[in-house]
């Protein structure tokens, strides 16, 4: 999982890398949960399908991570893996492997409260794909 944290006064920023959009989006989803909890304790318990739309790659990234985060904030589910089935700049379909939150097994260290549009960037570089995302914590 290739990502780094960017230091920001009130929040957390993420730089995510991938060889293609599939890897980039999948890594971004897992990075979100890697920040929140000890990801090694999240098991593959259930799976579900997500379909997300966007205006462009950046908007798609924000909308995707919003959906991923809502699994936690709305349904108490933790993400174990996100396998992208189809992806383009205006939409994606993914299989999400999740684990219901169990307070005896999981402990949330940093709660991510929202995925923002602030300074959002998703671009193709010479070496691969890269995204910058600022999270509200």
């Amino acid at each position: 999982m290739k990502y780094t944290l960017i230091d920001h006064t009130a929040d957390i920023g993420l730089n995510v890398f991938g060889k293609d959009p599939t890897e980039l989006f999948s890594t971004a989803a897992r990075a979100l949960f890697d920040i929140m909890i000890d990801a090694s304790r999240v098991r593959a318990t259930q799976s579900l399908i997500l379909r997300v739309e966007g205006l462009d790659w950046s908007d798609l990234m924000v909308n995707w991570l919003r959906e991923i985060l809502y699994l936690w904030s709305g349904s108490d589910l933790l993400v174990h893996a996100a396998n992208i089935r189809e992806i383009g700049p205006q939409g994606l379909v993914a299989d999400i492997i999740v684990d219901p939150f169990d307070p005896f097994r999981h402990s949330v260290t940093t709660e991510i409260k929202a995925v923002t549009y602030h300074q959002i960037e998703v671009k193709q570089q010479l070496a691969g794909w890269e995204a910058k995302i600022i999270l509200d914590v």
């Binding site: 944290l5 230091d7 920001h8 006064t9 009130a10 929040d11 957390i12 205006l55 950046s58 908007d59 909308n63 919003r66 809502y70 904030s73 709305g74 108490d76 402990s107 949330v108 260290t109 940093t110 709660e111 409260k113 929202a114 923002t116 549009y117 602030h118 300074q119 959002i120 600022i134 509200d136 914590v137």
Partner: protein
């Protein structure tokens, strides 16, 4: 960015590029030496470009970088031609502070302080994703969204006077629960009556100093008195409302071909269907937050009565005031000598209405609105009062708190090898917290000096110092 100094506390960002109005920043020369302020000043400029902005894009001395709009920002937009923006309100809609005063003095509380702080910690649900004891049906939740504090008092959580001492009587008009997504309803259902995590807190304090005795008397404050301050907002409900409307306004801007300097500035014309829908949904979140703080205050009253073995009359816990510092409201102000209806966005800024304002209840109309300014957990908090200068200069607004200076990561690093709990205890402050990282992230060094911030708004005259509070017990989420 070149700033022009107007006087000791006022700085102008002159109109340039696409700015429709100038920026006005409240700060001292020393504060502005901080290189981190270049980002929020850029945001002041971005806000100044938005349609319908009136007079100036304002920033308070506690300003720091936010999403789209700076935190500590105030901007008013013409009601007919202006815009409304979820980013100008913030994620935590009606995040705010309430201060309650008691009949207790410090000497009565000190011997039982540890029991009090422990009991508060056990009885006030706090921390990540904290859930309350109230599980609302969707039907009941919609009543909360429409009625705010009134709903809570009707359920037995508090007293009639609590309502008149809450900004807007704890209910923003125009709340329409049908405009709120099922996701927001679902998130809100489980969290009513909880403090949450991050910078939210409950603080037991002592009135340390009175600056303005006649006003302090009207507010019911005296030196040595025990107070309780609550800082929290609309929890996951408000976040979801903000997020939902940021998404739909971004889509809308794209559709009508508006290029935004920053997508987080997404907005809609106040009079448009989307603008009206956001107003109705935002009002729901504002009311949720007021009901939330009202329920929490009631629980605090119960805990105090239990710990001190007192009835409500002897405890005398009265709500001094409840202010919101993340909101957009329809207000009438005088601009260039003429009355104008505007939508005032206060994002990390507090209303500071002058004496005589019709929005204040009979008790406070004589002296002005109480303004509650929390500091960091190791220093002090202030009670200020609203002024005529605020009405003339800032659409009746002032600062909201200390404002961060260290990132969470930097704070954690700075706290390495230190026990923040011990340091606070050495200063006479007992602290209980839930989140593993919370205490380090929220340590006093992470924030600006609250006294410097308050001295600017006092010096500029947009609110006046009434009392200083010193913390003795803190519960963090």
């Amino acid at each position: 960015m070149k700033l022009r100094q107007i006087d000791q506390f006022h700085w102008e960002v002159p109109i340039s590029g696409k700015m429709r109005v100038p920026g006005i920043i409240y700060a001292t020369a020393t504060m502005l030496e901080d290189s981190q302020l270049s980002e929020p000043i850029k945001q002041v400029v971005n806000v100044a470009t938005l349609p319908g902005i009136v007079k100036a894009s304002l920033a308070m001395p506690d300003m720091h970088w936010g999403y789209g709009f700076p935190i500590g920002g105030v901007a008013a937009f013409d009601w007919d031609t202006g815009i409304i923006s979820p980013g100008g309100v913030g994620y935590d809609i009606n995040c705010g502070v309430r201060l309650a005063a008691t009949a207790l003095v410090e000497a009565q509380v000190q011997p039982l302080l540890a029991s009090l702080v422990n009991a508060l910690y056990q009885n006030i649900p706090s921390g990540v994703g904290s859930k309350g004891p109230l599980k609302l049906s969707i039907k009941e939740e919609k009543r909360v969204l429409k009625e705010g504090s009134r709903w809570a008092v009707r359920q037995g959580f508090g007293e009639e006077e609590d309502i008149s001492h809450t900004e807007d009587n704890g209910c923003l008009p125009g709340a329409d629960p049908e405009l709120v997504s099922s996701r927001a309803l679902e998130r809100g259902r489980k969290q009513l009556g909880t403090l949450g995590s991050g910078n939210h807190f409950l603080e037991v304090g002592v009135v340390d100093k009175i600056f303005d005795p006649p006003v302090a008397e009207v507010f019911g404050l005296f030196e040595g008195q025990i107070t309780v301050m609550l800082h929290c907002g609309s929890r996951g409900f408000g976040y979801q409302v903000c997020d939902d409307f940021l998404a739909s306004m971004t889509k809308h801007a794209h559709k009508i071909g508006i290029e935004l300097p920053d997508r987080q500035l997404a907005c809609a014309s106040i009079q448009s269907n989307l603008g009206q829908r956001y107003r109705g949904a935002m009002a729901c979140a504002a009311n949720y937050a007021w009901a939330n703080r009202q329920i929490l205050l009631h629980r605090v009253r119960d805990v105090f009565q239990h710990v001190f073995g007192m009835g409500p009359r002897d405890l005398g816990m009265r709500l001094v005031y409840d202010v919101c510092h993340n909101i957009a409201k329809k207000e009438e102000h005088v601009v260039d000598g003429k009355k104008q209806i505007v939508c005032v966005h206060r994002k990390g800024a507090t209303r500071s209405f002058a004496p005589g304002h019709p929005a204040l209840d009979d008790t406070y109309r004589r002296v002005g609105q109480p303004v509650i300014i929390p500091g960091d957990m190791g220093t002090a908090s202030y009670v200020l009062v609203g002024t005529d200068v605020a009405m003339q200069e800032t659409f009746g607004s002032t600062c909201h708190g200390a404002g961060r200076v260290l990132s969470r990561k930097a704070a954690k690093k700075a706290s390495k090898g230190r026990s923040i709990q011990r340091e606070l205890e050495d200063k006479g402050i007992l602290v209980r917290w839930t989140g593993r990282g919370t205490l380090a992230e929220e340590m006093p060094d992470a924030y600006k000096n609250i006294t410097e911030v308050v001295n600017v708004v006092h010096g500029a005259g947009i609110s006046r110092k009434v009392a200083k509070l010193r913390p003795i017990g803190v519960i963090k989420g």
